[in-house]
Subunit: 230 residues, 2 copies
Amino acid sequence: MRETFHGELDLIGRTLVDMSEAVALAMGDATSALLDADLPLAEKVISGDVQVDRLRDDLEARALDLLARQQPVAIDLRTVITSLRAVADLERMGDLALHIAKVARMRYPASAVPDEVRGTIGEMGQVALSIVEKTRQVLEGQDISLAEQLEREDDAMDALHRRLFAHLLSGEWTHGIEPAIDITLIGRYYERYADHAVSVARQVIFLVTGEQAPLPTAISTGATETALGV
Amino acid sequence: MRETFHGELDLIGRTLVDMSEAVALAMGDATSALLDADLPLAEKVISGDVQVDRLRDDLEARALDLLARQQPVAIDLRTVITSLRAVADLERMGDLALHIAKVARMRYPASAVPDEVRGTIGEMGQVALSIVEKTRQVLEGQDISLAEQLEREDDAMDALHRRLFAHLLSGEWTHGIEPAIDITLIGRYYERYADHAVSVARQVIFLVTGEQAPLPTAISTGATETALGV
């Protein structure tokens, strides 16, 4: 009975790793689609999100089944509950990549990203991928030594988000309102994606160590305030 | 044992109702603070969010304790899991009201809302309150007949969100980039708040009827695309 239980729990953990890989791929593709005005790549991200949703539905059904049949307690129970929380974050990350791909599709054949913020958006995409890769590693091996790096990269994302607003508000923005709206929302999507990825890693680390890390500033206070306050 | 269990489950349900009331109050105050540039009211929302977080922590701890000690199955298990999902949505709604209050505080003594979008933002605030009130009723009495009204009001919120972008893009926007960024983010906060409120109601309705309603368009596809596509 316990062996079956842990086998099933491993399968749930494996699905979480698969989902982290799927949403990393989606975000990488969405960023390329956005920067290169690549319509087929945008369409791929948009149509691919249903796969992430399916992985979520599947994991939730299995987790509930496991709770009902095996009635785990202590660490086993906490592991299943953490998985349910993590899957919600990962599903949302897929949505945020999808939102970015949709902006790319909407502006095609033009690019939604004016030249002067191209570098910053590109960096946000890179930091997002670096964070989700660490989240994957935490999910896979529960390597909790990555916690500190994750905090640093989350701070880097917030700094890029502030830089993005500084560009918009520099007085040198010549692109008008519509691209400013696009960039505002795109910036928010990257920042929220990173928040969710860090949240998954924190939950797993909490599960392993029992120590609750302080909430990231971005989640508890909203990085937007700072971003707007530049 | 079962009596204790249902007593504790009732208490969890009561906490969800309390949270829905707290985040309704926060959103009402945040909208007033935003429209009237009312700094003390903005501060009240900002400092009050910790109460919502406390209710969340308390409910999560009790739900986990209940799962561990009573090992519920079938509908009882699904009720506890639904409560854990609902509490995450409600906590996020508190954050979104907080974000709106922070924009109000940041622009004080000026108002973040130019005259020509004042009416639309005011309506978004009203629809948000009307939706969360129905969510409260669903939580309290599980009155599933409200489902249809909720869908209609969610559509109304999306229409207001599109109208907000139409204002920004009308060519008559004379306020420049910073207020456009504020309004873009504020619009998104109201829309997300409504999404989460509808999500809570849908989950409870699903629990009662066993029928999975289709995902709201705003959540599954991102209303922003439409909003940007005006």
